[in-house]
Symmetry: C2
Subunit: 450 residues, 2 copies
C-alpha cells in the first residue's frame, strides 16, 4: 500500500530559516518614506524589536531559529506532507500530487509559524504587550496563541463587521487570553475620532492597522506585529518549504511545480523560497503564486512604490500593487484581499523567476469540495486557490499523459469558514472577475515618489 | 529538550481491534426484547450488516481490521500521543501527563474511527445508503465523511433545534456529500405524524433515531449506523488505546491512571479497554470514566435492563441507566447527554474493575481554557471532562509529591463549540448538579422485564 503521510520527527524541525535575499540576482529595493528618503532601522524601532528589524534587512542565507521557538513549534511541527492518492484517483491524472498541511497548528493555519517567533523576540526585548489588527481573525488568533505561549499581553483590533459577524474567531482569541476590540474602538485617538464622526462605523483593515500602530508607537511597553508582506514574516514561513524538502527527500521525489495562495505573500514565500534556492542553483522547478481574479495583484497590478496600508501611514515599498485605496470585492478568502504584495515576491515575479495565475471564487470552492470529498480535510478558502491551480495542472497532465510531480500548500483548514461553504453549496456564492475600472481609479492614486 | 509528540508511522496502524469480552471475568449480558426473550442476530439484520452483527456478539480477543479500512485510516492515523510538558509546568505537578489527540481526524473527533469501518462493512454487504441521526453533529459529520470515502449515500436526521442553531456542522456534512434533514422531517411516517401534531416540533435525539431506524428498516438498500453504546462501536474505538500502548512503549513509560469522557461509552472503552487487557493480566492501572454531574449515569444511576433510546423502540440492555425518559440538562458537552451507557462499560463498572467520577460543567470549561493556554489545542467540551479529572489528580500528586503517570483521551477539538467557550468566558454558563428528583421519576419508569 503506498505511503500517504510523510512525517518527520520533531528532532527534524529545521534549526535555521532560509533567507531568499542571499540567492536573489539583485538586492531588494529598500522601503522609502513618502518623501523618497530611505527608511532606516531606527524609524522602525518604535514598533518592532531590533532583532526583527535586523532580520528585515539581513542578506545572510541562514538565520538560526531560537531554541525556545523550536520548543513551541514542537506542539504542532513538523507538519505532515501528504501524498494525495485519493485526489489523484478522483481526477484520473498520471500526475503525483503532494500537499503540506499547515492546518495542524492550534490556530488552524500557517500564520502561527511567524506569530511564535515574533512573540519570542518581543519578549526577549522586554516588551510586555503586542498590539495587532485582524480581519476575519486568522492572524489575530495566531498572535493570541503566541502571546500566551510567551506570557505577553495581546490586544487585537478586529474590524467591527467581522467582530459582529464572526464571533467564534473572537472567542478563540479570548480563550487564549487576548483582549479583542471592535475597531474603530475607544482605545485609540484614531478610533475615537472615527466614532465621533460615525458611531456606526463598520471598520476596515486599514483602520484596525492604524489603531494597532498608534497604540504600539505611543507606548514603550508595546510593539506591533504583522502577519504577512514584510521580509521577516516570509523568512519565518520558510520553515514550511524547508520541512517539505526533507520530506520529499525521504520518499526520493521532488516537485516539478509548486502552488501556493498569494495575498500578502507569506504563504507563497514560505513554501516556495526554499525551493527557489535550488532553482537559483540550476534546478528545474516552477513556482506558481495563485491569487483571486477579484484581487489580481501580480497578474494585473503594476510594479511601483506604494503604501502598505489603505490609509497611507506606512513607508512606501516597491511591489506589485493595485493601488493602496483599491477595495477588493468581498470574497470569502479574506487573507487574499490585499492590494499589494510582498516586495520580495514582487521582485522575483518582476524578474521572471516565479509565475502567477489568478482563479475565480466559484472554481476555488468547487476544487475545495472535491478535495474534501477525496482527502477528508475541508480546506480554508485561501488554500482552495492553490488546490484549484494544482488541480488544473493535474488535468493538463491527464490530457498530455505527463506524470508531473505537483505540490501545493494546504495552508489551513476551513472550520471557521463553513458559512462560505454553506453559501457555495446553496448556489448563493458569486464570482468576481477583474475589476478593471476600480483598479484604474486606484492606480491613478499611487504616491508620486519612488 | 524533552520529547513533546510521540508519533507512529502509518505502517504501525494496528492490524487488529481488541475485544474486551475475551478478558472479562463474566460473559456480557445479552440484549432482550421488551418481553424478556433474547434478541437473536436475525432481529438486527434488518438494519445492520451481518459482519457487524458478528462483531457485536463475538468473544474473539483479536478481530482483524480490513485493509481498505486501514487505508482510509492513513488519512489521519496514527494519532499523536503528546506529553503535556507545558500543562505539567502550569500546574506545578510532579505527575507526568500524556494525552492522545483524536482531533486530527478530518471530522475533528474519535467518532471517525467507527464510522469508517461501519461504512466499509455496509458497502461490502451491498448496501447503498446509510440512515443515521445526529444531535450537535459530531457523529453525523463522521458518518458523512465515511460514506463519501466508500461511495455510500448518507442521510442524516439532525435534531431540528441543532439544525437551526448549529448550521456549520450541517454544512460540513453537506460538503462531504451527505443529505441532512431537520428532524422531525417529512421523509418518514414518524416524522410526518409528529409534524402533523405540531408543525413547530423542535425534535429530539429519540425522534431522530426513530426516523433513521424507520428508514433503514423499511428499505432493503439502506442500513442504520450508531456512533456509540454498542459492542462493535467500542471494538472499533480500541484502535486509540492500542496505538497509545505502542507509543508508551516507545518512550518506556506506562500510565498509572487513564481518564476518558464517558457518555455512551465508546470514548472511554476505546482508550481504556486495551489497557484493561493488561489489568486483567495483573498490571496495576486504574481506568477512570468521567461523566457530567448533570447526567451521572455510572455514579448515580442503577444497573438494570433499560431501553437504549428515549422512545423505547430498541431492545433492552443491561446497563447503568438514569431511566430512558430522563432528559439531561442542556449542557454543552452534547456527547455526554445520554441516559444509559455501554453494556460492556456498565458490567466492568458493576464488577468493580473500572472507576467513575462526575465533574461539573464550569469546572470542565475552566480546565479546558487552562489546557488551551498551556498546550494550544482548544478541546471539545466532552474532552474537557477528562482534562478536569486528570488535572484534579495531577493536583493531588502536587500535594502528595507522587510522580504518577497520568493519561487522558483528548477526543476532539472545540472548533465547532466556540459559542460554549464564549458563554463561559462571558460568565454566562451555568452549573448543573445531580438532578435527583428528575432521576427518581425516570427510574420509576424502567421496563419491568430483565
Amino acid at each position: 500500500m503506498p505511503q500517504t503521510k510523510i512525517l518527520l520527527d520533531e528532532s527534524e524541525i529545521p534549526t535555521h530559516w532560509y533567507n531568499v535575499v542571499a540567492d536573489m540576482p539583485n538586492p531588494p529595493s529598500a522601503p522609502l518614506s513618502p518623501d523618497g528618503k530611505p527608511v532606516g532601522p531606527d524609524a522602525l524601532a518604535a514598533i518592532f524589536p531590533m532583532s526583527i528589524i535586523e532580520q528585515e534587512v539581513s542578506s545572510e542565507r541562514w538565520i538560526p531559529i531560537p531554541e525556545p521557538v523550536r520548543e513551541i513549534f514542537r506542539l504542532y511541527r513538523p507538519s505532515p506532507l501528504f501524498r494525495a492518492h485519493r485526489l489523484e484517483a478522483a481526477l484520473g491524472t498520471p500526475a503525483k500530487i503532494y500537499y503540506k498541511y499547515e492546518g495542524v497548528s492550534p490556530a488552524g493555519s500557517h500564520k502561527v509559524n511567524t506569530s511564535i517567533p515574533q512573540a519570542y523576540y518581543n519578549k526577549e526585548a522586554g516588551i510586555k504587550r503586542i498590539a495587532t489588527e485582524t480581519g476575519a481573525g486568522q492572524w489575530g488568533s495566531s498572535m493570541a496563541l503566541a502571546g500566551q505561549m510567551f506570557g505577553l499581553e495581546v490586544r487585537v483590533y478586529m474590524v467591527r463587521v467581522s467582530y459582529d459577524q464572526k464571533p467564534f474567531r473572537r472567542s478563540m482569541m479570548q480563550t487564549w487570553g487576548a483582549q479583542v476590540f471592535a475597531s474603530p474602538s475607544m482605545e485609540t485617538q484614531t478610533g475615537r475620532d472615527a466614532l465621533a464622526k460615525d458611531s456606526e462605523n463598520q471598520g476596515s483593515l486599514g483602520m484596525a492597522i492604524s489603531e494597532a500602530v498608534e497604540e504600539a508607537a505611543s507606548r514603550a511597553d508595546t510593539n506591533y506585529a504583522l502577519g504577512s508582506v514584510l521580509n521577516h514574516v516570509l523568512l519565518h514561513q520558510t520553515i514550511i518549504g524547508l520541512e517539505a524538502k526533507k520530506q520529499f527527500a525521504k520518499v526520493g521525489d521532488y516537485p516539478d511545480m509548486i502552488f501556493a495562495p498569494c495575498g500578502g505573500g507569506s504563504n507563497f514565500g514560505g513554501v516556495a523560497f526554499p525551493f527557489f534556492a535550488d532553482k537559483a542553483g540550476g534546478k528545474n522547478v516552477r513556482l506558481v503564486a495563485v491569487e483571486p481574479t477579484s484581487c489580481p495583484t501580480l497578474t494585473k497590478g503594476v510594479y511601483a512604490y506604494d503604501y502598505g496600508d489603505t490609509a497611507g501611514l506606512t513607508p512606501i515599498m516597491k511591489m506589485y500593487t493595485l493601488g493602496h485605496d483599491f477595495m477588493p470585492p468581498g470574497i470569502h478568502a479574506g487573507g487574499l484581499r490585499y492590494h499589494g504584495d510582498s516586495p520580495l515576491v514582487s521582485q522575483l515575479y518582476h524578474e521572471g523567476l516565479i509565475e502567477a495565475v489568478s482563479v475565480a471564487q466559484l472554481a476555488t470552492f468547487e476544487a475545495g469540495v472535491m478535495f474534501a470529498r477525496a482527502e477528508g480535510i475541508i480546506p480554508a478558502p485561501e488554500s482552495n486557490h492553490a488546490i484549484r491551480a494544482c488541480m488544473d495542472e493535474a488535468l493538463c497532465c491527464k490530457e498530455s499523459g505527463e506524470p508531473k510531480t505537483l505540490f501545493f500548500n494546504l495552508s489551513g483548514h476551513g472550520h471557521f469558514d463553513m458559512a462560505a461553504y454553506d453559501k457555495y453549496l446553496a448556489g448563493q456564492l458569486d464570482d468576481f472577475y477583474y475589476p478593471e475600472e476600480a483598479i484604474k481609479a486606484s492606480l491613478s492614486n499611487l504616491p508620486k515618489v519612488g
